[in-house]
Structures are given as structure tokens and as C-alpha cells.
Amino acid sequence: MFFFAYDGSINGDWVSHYAVQLAAARQDHRLTLVHVRNGRTSEATLAEKLQRMRGECERHGVRLVEHLLSPVGRSLLDAIRSAVPEGPEHYLVCGTRARGRRNGFLSGTTSEQLLRSGHCNVLAVRVVHPGLLGSPRRLLLPIAERAADFRSGLPFLRLFGPQVSHLHIVLVARVGRGRFRQMSHAFAEGLRSPGQASCERVEQEIVEQLGLGSKVMDALVIVSDEIPREILIAANKTRSQLIYMGASERTPTERFFYGNPIEQVLREATCDVAVYRGIA
């Protein structure tokens, strides 16, 4: 089943485009909206927003099921988990935090908890370009040097698949700042080779699993000391409309030294960003 955790915010409205588009890509064409009434959105406003969403679902041939929950002493996370069944066959789309300047867009949010919970396949989306209407055609897929990590992104990528015209895979091989400043071309090429092999394996797997043609894909290995910055540059260079990245597995120590790349990308991206964690 396909679920959309809707918070009633404007970002939630924009994320709803993604939820509708992705639900339309599924066989059952069914979208279950989960909203926990929190008092921040008035009933009248909520009704107007839901009406618009119904209209959009109708246009895409999607059946909208609405679960409007009342808070009954449980946390928001518990409320959503109780409404969304557990398992790899279930999908949940949610938004990121608004006003994320100080706290971060994902850190400490219910969306982050949902991503970490492994409850089902979760996608947290930050929309900065509402004009895309949830239909990005050019995707940037940053992958880690552990190529296997990207597999948890396959369930949602499969749903994006039909509309994708370009899938740019990017792998950033990290080096220290001093080394980066002084490294020779030959040294950088040496670091690129294993990354290139990883990218090829990922491409092969995407071709086999999702049936995306190899002509749609492009792979780039970048040697750099700043992973988030390179992701942002790559997104701009490739004119990507969505950065599709995996939830960070960094330890607190790594975060202390290198920062949280997801937050940096969410903060500065010039296109939409979707953070996935699949369990399929």
C-alpha cells in the first residue's frame, strides 16, 4: 500500500504532488493519506486543501483514501506507525521540516524517525521547486563507495522510473583537504578507477532491476574533500530536478568532523531533494 503522511503545511501540499505521481505509478492506483490533526491547520483550510488533493488524484486516476487521525496522547510517530502497516510492500511519503535554518530540515523530525525506524519504505521530500509538480525527469543519484547501500533506494526509484529521462549517478571519493588541494591529476585518476567500477555495477543493477535503458544513465566519479558541495554542484551541472539520496548512516563522531551531508544538501539545494530508506 502507498501512504502519504500529510502535515497540512504548504510543503505538505507540494509533497502531495510527489505522493500522487508515485501512487499513480503503482498497480493499485491507490493513495492513503494520513493526517494527524494538530490544531495548526484549521478544519476549513484542511478541507480546502484536501479538496484540491482529491481533484489532483482524480486527474491522475488515483483513488484517495483519507485517514484523519486525532491525537490521543500518542506521539505523532506512533500515530503514523499505527496507521501504516509494517513491511517492505508498504510505502510512505512524507515531507521535511519547514523553517529548518537552525534545527536542520530532517534532524530530530518525525520524518527522520520514520526513516530510521525501518517500518516500511520511506521517502522524505523537501520541495523547493513546486513547478515540477512532483514529476522530476532528471534525477541525481549520489551513491556511496559501498555500492550496495543504494539498493534501499530501488523501491521508490522503480516508481520514478517511467518518467525519468536522465539518471545521473554520482560517486564522490573523499580525500582530505590538504591532499585535495595538492593532488596531482594522476593521483585523482587513480582514486576514480574503483569508483568507476562501483558506478558500473550500480548501473548494471539498475538496468536489470528497473529496466531503465543505459542511455538514460550517466555516471560520474568526483574526487573531492567536500561530499555535499560536490553533490550540489553535480545537481546544477547536470540540471537535475531531484536529488535522490539515501538516509545518512554517519556516526555522531563522523557528523562532528564532517557535518551532516543530508542537512547541507537539504539546506542549499536548488532543486527538490528526496531522502530514501527502503527495506525491500
Binding site: 513546486p130 515540477l132 518518467q163 588541494r181 558541495r229 546544477n236
Partner: protein, 919 residues
């Protein structure tokens, strides 16, 4: 499957409000606030406003600065412990050098921020919107997605927006597309890329005519212009070759200095000398080893080279670019204005049936009249009494001028052109309707590919009309191919007689049928006379020239051949790459195509320049890229040397570039390369010169600590050489003109060092040792003649000691005269470069000579440097150091030259380090 995946330009205008969660009456104030809280203000995100602090800190705390600062601190401490030793002055001098270097580097780095400032100017201050049902003017920064934006003639668009109402709306998208022609905007849904969509208005673009209402869907750095700004801000450029070299020099020399200083400090402590003496030794060793004047000299050499380049129409904005230009392997150049004059002239008027020039005046007049009806030119003001000027698109201006030459002023045609359909970028054609009493004519002009499907008949130069069957159209294809292959831009002209004036609201499409092809016009943009020679010079210098243009492949090929970028025998299919093929290629594949010899890119977009730069860099090449538009900015920033056009370029491109060509002329780049190469060679010369004097500065300390003898040179005397007498001759060496064969050699190898092992051996182990031996010899000679005996200690104020240190210092300075003459030529004696050809160097030599005398005989200088006089015979002996230094250096050069000539030829050929075949 997702049935109807659409984006905002692909939906009907009526659905736009709902999808963007807006309404015709506009957003409410709470909605605006919620959206602003979500996405922030509508402005380009600059780097942190405190970034200048981190940049400043970076330059103040680099290795070299820290070393100088510590040395200065030790001097101040030493002065506090034991005043009157001149340590305070030394401390201030070291601190001054450190601060000046840091401030200069800071100022250089902060220049990069200016491109962002220029981009910000593309957004207006205030805009008109509809909110809560009422029109109002708000700050452009306050715009949010969903806002209803009202556009009128003369407005600059503040955000990316989807049009829902238009009335004769015409915009100029040049900042984004580089296309100077205006674009009509409509509200109908379209397919394809959003950037090409005629129902979207983009931030930074101008409304030329009409009105419109649009709903904002992207703000700030999420707009198309904002993405260019973000990429220009974020794109990372590796250190320039010179930055790498200076970093390395600083690292190597300071490491040597610190290690030696610490070693002798430890040795001194172990041998039981006092802490104060050991500190002085350590400082002396460090100060003697660090060439304090080298970095300022380097900066000055670059500054003066940039002044010379400015005289050759090359304005240098970033000093390191002077040297980078000398190191480049590839130049990626535009065509129009850079290789050509950007002066379109009509050189062919061709009959579409027979393919021959149209001779008949009536047919010619009809052809030009149709072309002018489909043009938009305005009368301009002539600067003199010559032919009237026109303003507008260059093609239209060329048409009006030629018509004027052939048939007189075209004002009547302009006046009677009742309707104009502006150039449609997607369709690549424009049209107009002419009405003159009973005659009504619809005329259209554009690319042949664009008009071909609309043609029903062909009209020959003799008035004959034939049907547009397959053979006739194939004949036209051949004509277009032939003209393009001559490097001409070809436009087709067609017309249709109408019974009456069409409805003013009739769409252009309703008139585009049954057209009669009147003929083809070939326009030529002549190649600048000096370009083929400049390309040949680059070729001889091992530099590849790539042509990147939006033109047709045949035109691009013809221009490339005429300029010498393509050789006559180069097959076009292997050397010319079309933009659509480029789009499909991966970076690695493009790198391979470049390695295989592709050197012309046709039908490219400015964004593709970035891809070409990245692929060239994958091959390990140093790349120079030219550009003039706003959308060229990221590529200019990504290249090792970004070159903007001074005459035709935008302010943004000029600010983003390292170098500005004041005359937009490719030949100026070639002149700049020669200057850049000379700079590197000159740097090697003055680095050798400066380092040579380090050894006679170090040796006295070594002797002093190992043997029971007085110190032959004090720290303040060392600084007098490093920051005093050495500076002017070193700057003079930086002014040496290029070696005659500098443009006949390939670019220097990527692994070729400024501070190479060979240079260090020459400076330290040959020139330095000679200087040290002779200066120390004279030191002991003075002592010996003054009655000093082995092991005798002399007080610092002892006249004999002061005379002895004076002659040491004078000898070093005089021997540097011999050194500087020898340094002028890598292989020759140095005298062969002309004695009076370098005035700064001459002044430097005169200063050295004068100073060598003042040290010994002028009381104020004696007092400052703690020196004393010697006999004239002894001073004359010091002069022998000049021929000694010069002569031995010349013998060394002859010996090295002979050895190199004996080497097998293969070992002399230096690979460029490039993965591409030489041109």
C-alpha cells in the same frame, strides 16, 4: 504506469492556480509568510557574510605567515630581554612582510564574489503583484511560489513564473539563453524542456513589450538564473599551477629553514652556548634560509606582466592567471566576435531553382523586400554623415544596409509592415505582414530546416515558378549545404500574397502555408585577419584550439578550416561534434572523443561548455575558456583561465573571468600566452638569483657555530640583502622579454617545478657556494690584515669586526651583480640580451653597486648596519666577485649546453603531459 506526469509548463493555464496552491486574486498574507518561512526570501544565496573573516584567517595562518609571525615574536621577546640589538626592527620587518602577503592574497580571493554581485543586479528591487485580491507593489525579495506577478513593458522579471494571461508579451531571455533575439510569450501548454518553453517567464529577463500575468513557481537560487549563480558560486577550481608552485616553494624553503634552525639550536645548547646566542643563531639560520623578498617579487612580476598584457588588449583580473595563461594546453574559443569580426555582410543572393546568384534587379528587390518585411529594425543615429545606421538584430541590420546600398532607403517598407511576428527561438523563424493599398504580402525568413516543410512553390530569379516537389527541395538542400560549407550563415526567404489584411489576432501558423520560396541569402562574418596567424602560433606552441559555436556544423567547419583550427586534410566527421551528440556523450566518452581529435563543437549551448571543460580536465589539461554571456559564467569559473569579452561581454562574465579581452580578439590570447610563458621563465630566473644569496648568508652562521671565529654576517645585514638590494634586480629579471623561441616550445610539463632540483642545485650548490667562498675569504682577509688571530673573540663594536662584516656584505651584494647578468639568459651569457634593454634591472645593478659602497663608507649606513670601512684595495678586491661570478656561471652554462646537445634527441622532447595528440 504514471499516466500524466506533467510539469507546470505542460498543464493548461487554467490549472496553474490550483496546482501551485494559489488563486487569481493572489495569496493571502499568512500564505505568503508560510511560504517565505519554508523557502526563504527571493534572492540569490551568497556565501556566509562572515566568509571574508575565514578567508582572511586562512591567509594570515598559512604556513609561511605563521613562520614569519613566530620569527617576529621571537625578535620582540629577544628585544625585551636584550634591548639595543636591532631585534625590534627585525621583528617589525618580518611582521610587515607577513601582513602584506596575507592582505594581498585576501584581496585576490575576494574578487570572486563580484560575479555574484553582478548577478544580483539582474533582479529588480520592487515588483507588482496581486495579493488578497488587490494589486500592490512589493519588494522583489518578498516573492514566494504562488504569488501572482504582473508584468509590463520595461519590467525585469523577478522570479520564474508560469504565464496565465498575456497580451502581446515579448521578452528578452538573453541572460539565460545567450540568444539576443526577443521571444514572444503565450499561455498555451507546451511540451519539452522548461527552459525553451514560451509560457514561462524567467528571473533576470526583460519584458520588451506587452503585458502579462504569471504565477511564481521558483524563487531565489531555485530559479534558472539562480542556478547559474549557485553554480558560479560553488564551482570548484583547483589551485592554479602558480599557486601550487608557490605553496610548494614556501613549504620546501620553510621546512629547510626550520629544520636547520632547530638543528643548530639543539647543537648550540648541547655545546654549552648561552640561550640568547642560540636564539640568535636559530633566527639567523631561519632568516637566511627564508627568501623574504621572493613572494613580494613574484607578485610584483605578475603585476608588471599584467600591465604589459593590458597594452596588448588583455586585461588581467586575477594575477595568477598571467602565469596560468602561459601554461595552458587548450583554448576553447567562441566564434562570433573572437575569430570573426561580428560584422555580418550579405555576400550571396541565390536563386532557389538554379542555385546561381540572382542578377535581375526586380527579383533582387522582391527578395530583399520580403526579407525586410520579416525583419525588425529601427533607424539609428549615424555618428557622422555617412550612410544611415540601423539598430536591431545583426542580420536585420545587414539586410537594411544592403537594401539601402542597392535600392535606396527601406523606410517605406518598414512603415508599411503592419504586423510583425517576432523571431521564435524554437521555430527559428520570424515573419511580417506588409500592406500597401491593394497589395498584401505575408513574408517569412529563417533557417532552411525551419521553412522547408512550409514551402509550396519556388520562384526563380527569372520570375519562373515551379512546384516544391522532392527534387526541387533536394536542390535547395544542396544550395544550403554549399553555402554553409563556405562558412556562410544561410537564411531562406519565402512569401505569400494575401487577398486582404489578415485578422489582427490571427496566429502566425494560419498564414504559414502555400509559401513561395524567393531565394537564399548568404551572410558572411569575415574572419579577423590576424586570427589564422595566431592559431598557427598556438599550434606551434603545442596549444590546441577548440571552436565552440552555436552555428550549423558546416559553418563551424568552414570557419575552423579558414582559421587553421582544422587542417585541410582533417576529416570533418572525426573532428566536428554536434551539440545533440555532445549531449548524449558521457564525460569519459567525451574525453575520449577529444583525445581522438575532436576540435569543433557545433550547435552547442552555453551549458555544454561546462561539460567540455570537465572532459578536458579529465585528460589532465590546463584549459582556457572564452565566454561573454551570463550563462557562460559557470564555465568561465570552472576553466583554469576564464576569458571574457570586453567589448561584447556582459558585466557578469567580465567579473567571473580571470582575463578580459578588451578587443574580443583571439590574437590577443596568443599574445597573452607568450607573455605568460615569459613570466614563468622569469620566475625561474629570479628565484635562482634570490636563492643564490642564501648560501653566503647561511655559511657564516655554520662557520661561527662550528669554529672559534667571529660571525661574518649579522641578521640585520642578511635582511638588508633579502629585503633590500636583492629586490630591484629580481624585479628587473621579472621584466625580461620572452625568449625568442618561447612560442616554438610545447607547454611546460605539468610536473615541471618552479623550484626544481636543477634550479636548487644551481642556486645553492654552485652560485651560492662561489659567493659564500669568496665573501668569507675576504672577511678573513680583512680580519687577518687587521691583526686578528685564530680563536680570538671580537666585540660587536670592534672597528675591525665591523669592517670585516662590511666587506662580507659588500662582496655578496657585488657578486649578485654578476649573478643577475648571468640570470638574464638560460643558455647565453646574459650580456647577449643587451646591456641597456632592461631599465629596471640596470637601476637594480646601479643600486647594488651604490649600496656596496655606502655600506662601507657612509657613516649613517655604517651605523645602521653595524659595518665599518675597508681600504680601497680591499673594496676593489670585492669587485672581482662580479667577473668571478659571471665567468664561472657562463662556463657552467656552456658545459651544461654541451652535455644537453650530446644527449640523444628523444630525451630532449618533452611530452606536454596531455592526453591529446598535438595539433
Amino acid at each position: 504506469m504514471m499516466a500524466t506526469a506533467v510539469q507546470i509548463h505542460e498543464v493548461a493555464a487554467g490549472d496553474v492556480f490550483g496546482l501551485l496552491r494559489s488563486r487569481a486574486g493572489g495569496l493571502t498574507t499568512p500564505e505568503v509568510e508560510a511560504r517565505r518561512a519554508e523557502l526563504g526570501p527571493n534572492r540569490f544565496q551568497a556565501r556566509s557574510r562572515w566568509r571574508w573573516l575565514s578567508v582572511l584567517a586562512k591567509h594570515f595562518f598559512n604556513f609561511f605567515s605563521i613562520l614569519l609571525d613566530i620569527a617576529a615574536l621571537v625578535c620582540f621577546v629577544a628585544d625585551a630581554i636584550q634591548p639595543g640589538e636591532g631585534m625590534r626592527l627585525l621583528g617589525w620587518a618580518l611582521l610587515g612582510v607577513s601582513v602584506l602577503n596575507a592582505l594581498f592574497a585576501f584581496a585576490q580571493e575576494m574578487r570572486a564574489e563580484r560575479a555574484m554581485e553582478e548577478l544580483r543586479r539582474f533582479l529588480p528591487q520592487r515588483v507588482r503583484v496581486r495579493r488578497e485580491g488587490a494589486e500592490r507593489e512589493v519588494l522583489a525579495e518578498d516573492l514566494v511560489p504562488g504569488d501572482v506577478l504582473l508584468l509590463a513593458e520595461g519590467d525585469r522579471i523577478a522570479a520564474d513564473a508560469r504565464l496565465v494571461e498575456t497580451e502581446d508579451l515579448l521578452v528578452n531571455n538573453a541572460p539565460l539563453t545567450g540568444e539576443s533575439r526577443s521571444q514572444p510569450l503565450k499561455t498555451a501548454a507546451t511540451k519539452g524542456r522548461s527552459i525553451d518553453s514560451p509560457n514561462l517567464a524567467f528571473a533576470g529577463c526583460n519584458v520588451l513589450r506587452g503585458n502579462g500575468t504569471a504565477v511564481v513557481f521558483a524563487t531565489g537560487h531555485r530559479t534558472e538564473l539562480g542556478k547559474i549563480a549557485a553554480l558560479s558560486r560553488d564551482v570548484r577550481r583547483p589551485l592554479s599551477p602558480l599557486q601550487r608552485e608557490t605553496d610548494r616553494i614556501v613549504r620546501v624553503l620553510t621546512s629547510i629553514a626550520v629544520v636547520m634552525g632547530l638543528l643548530f639550536f639543539t647543537f648550540g645548547v648541547a655545546s654549552g652556548r648561552s640561550l640568547w646566542v642560540n636564539i640568535v643563531f636559530m633566527l639567523g639560520i631561519i632568516v637566511a634560509n627564508v627568501p623574504e623578498g621572493l613572494l613580494p617579487t613574484l607578485t610584483l612580476a605578475l603585476s608588471m606582466a599584467s600591465v604589459r598584457m593590458a597594452k596588448k588588449q588583455v586585461l588581467v583580473k586575477k594575477l595568477e592567471a598571467v602565469e596560468s595563461l602561459g601554461a595552458i594546453h587548450v583554448i576553447c574559443t567562441d566564434k562570433t566576435g573572437t575569430l570573426t569580426r561580428n560584422e555580418l555582410a550579405i555576400t550571396a543572393m541565390v536563386d532557389p531553382i538554379q542555385g546561381v546568384p540572382i542578377q535581375d534587379p526586380t527579383a533582387l528587390r522582391m527578395l530583399f523586400r520580403a526579407a525586410l518585411i520579416a525583419s525588425e529594425v529601427r533607424p539609428g543615429f549615424a555618428s557622422d554623415d555617412s550612410a544611415p545606421r540601423w539598430s536591431g538584430d545583426p542580420i536585420d541590420v545587414a539586410l537594411a544596409q544592403r537594401y539601402g546600398e542597392l535600392f535606396g532607403p527601406p523606410d517605406a517598407i518598414m512603415a508599411e509592415t503592419l504586423r510583425h511576428f517576432p523571431f521564435d527561438l524554437a521555430k527559428r523563424r520570424e515573419a511580417g505582414v506588409f500592406g500597401n493599398g491593394g497589395e498584401v504580402l505575408f513574408a517569412i525568413k529563417g533557417a532552411w530546416e525551419s521553412l522547408r516543410p512550409l514551402i509550396g512553390q519556388l520562384q526563380g530569379g527569372d520570375g519562373r515558378i515551379v512546384g516544391a516537389d522532392d527534387d526541387a527541395l533536394a536542390g535547395c538542400d544542396a544550395i544550403v549545404h554549399r553555402l554553409s560549407a563556405l562558412g556562410q550563415r544561410v537564411i531562406a526567404i519565402a512569401s505569400r500574397r494575401l487577398d486582404r489584411l489578415p485578422d489582427p489576432k490571427a496566429p502566425e501558423e494560419s498564414l504559414e502555408r502555400g509559401l513561395v520560396l524567393c531565394g537564399f541569402l548568404g551572410l558572411d562574418d569575415p574572419i579577423r585577419e590576424e586570427v589564422p596567424e595566431a592559431v598557427a602560433r598556438c599550434r606551434a606552441a603545442g596549444i590546441r584550439v577548440l571552436l565552440i559555436t552555436g552555428d550549423h556544423p558546416d559553418t563551424a567547419e568552414a570557419v575552423a578550416r579558414a582559421c587553421g583550427i582544422l587542417r585541410p586534410d582533417d576529416p570533418a566527421e572525426q573532428r566536428v561534434l554536434h551539440g545533440t551528440d555532445l549531449e548524449r556523450l558521457r564525460e569519459q566518452q567525451l574525453a575520449e572523443r577529444l583525445r581522438d581529435g575532436v576540435c569543433v563543437f557545433s550547435r552547442t549551448t552555453p551549458e555544454q561548455k561546462m561539460k567540455i571543460v570537465a572532459a578536458l580536465k579529465r585528460l589532465g589539461l590546463i584549459v582556457a575558456m572564452t565566454g561573454d554571456g551570463v550563462n557562460d559564467t559557470p564555465a568561465l569559473m570552472a576553466a583554469d583561465v576564464g576569458i571574457a569579452m570586453g567589448a561584447s561581454g556582459t558585466d557578469v562574465a567580465r567579473e567571473a573571468a580571470d582575463i578580459v579581452l578588451l578587443d574580443d580578439n583571439f590574437a590577443s590570447i596568443a599574445a597573452g600566452i607568450e607573455e605568460g610563458r615569459a613570466v614563468f621563465a622569469n620566475m625561474q630566473k629570479f628565484t635562482t638569483y634570490v636563492l643564490a644569496s642564501n648560501i653566503p648568508e647561511i655559511v657564516p652562521f655554520l662557520i661561527y657555530i662550528l669554529l672559534p671565529v667571529p660571525l661574518a654576517l649579522t641578521v640585520i645585514q642578511i635582511l638588508a640583502v633579502d629585503l633590500g638590494t636583492d629586490l630591484l634586480p629580481a624585479i628587473g629579471l621579472g621584466q625580461e622579454p620572452p625568449e625568442p623561441d618561447s612560442m616554438q616550445r610545447p607547454p611546460r610539463r605539468l610536473d615541471e617545478r618552479l623550484l626544481s632540483a636543477r634550479l636548487m642545485v644551481t642556486a645553492y650548490l654552485f652560485l651560492g657556494v662561489i659567493q659564500a667562498a669568496f665573501s668569507v675569504f675576504l672577511f678573513f682577509l680583512v680580519l687577518h690584515q687587521g691583526g686578528w688571530h685564530w680563536g680570538q673573540e671580537l666585540a660587536e663594536g670592534d672597528p675591525l669586526y665591523r669592517s670585516a662584516t662590511g666587506i662580507t656584505l659588500a662582496t655578496i651584494i657585488l657578486m649578485q651583480v654578476g649573478n643577475v647578468i648571468g640570470r638574464r639568459s638560460l643558455r647565453g651569457s646574459g650580456l647577449d640580451r643587451g646591456l641597456l634593454s632592461n631599465r629596471i634591472l640596470l637601476l637594480g645593478v646601479a643600486t647594488e653597486i651604490l649600496f656596496s659602497w655606502m655600506i662601507l663608507y657612509v657613516p649613517t649606513v655604517q651605523a645602521f648596519l653595524q659595518t665599518g670601512p675597508v681600504s680601497w684595495q680591499m673594496y676593489a678586491a670585492a669587485w672581482l666577485g662580479i667577473p668571478l661570478m659571471f665567468g664561472m656561471d657562463y662556463v657552467r652554462k656552456r658545459w651544461v649546453g654541451r652535455r644537453e646537445r650530446r644527449r640523444p634527441l628523444g630525451s630532449l622532447g618533452q611530452p606536454t603531459g596531455a592526453g591529446v595528440p598535438g595539433p
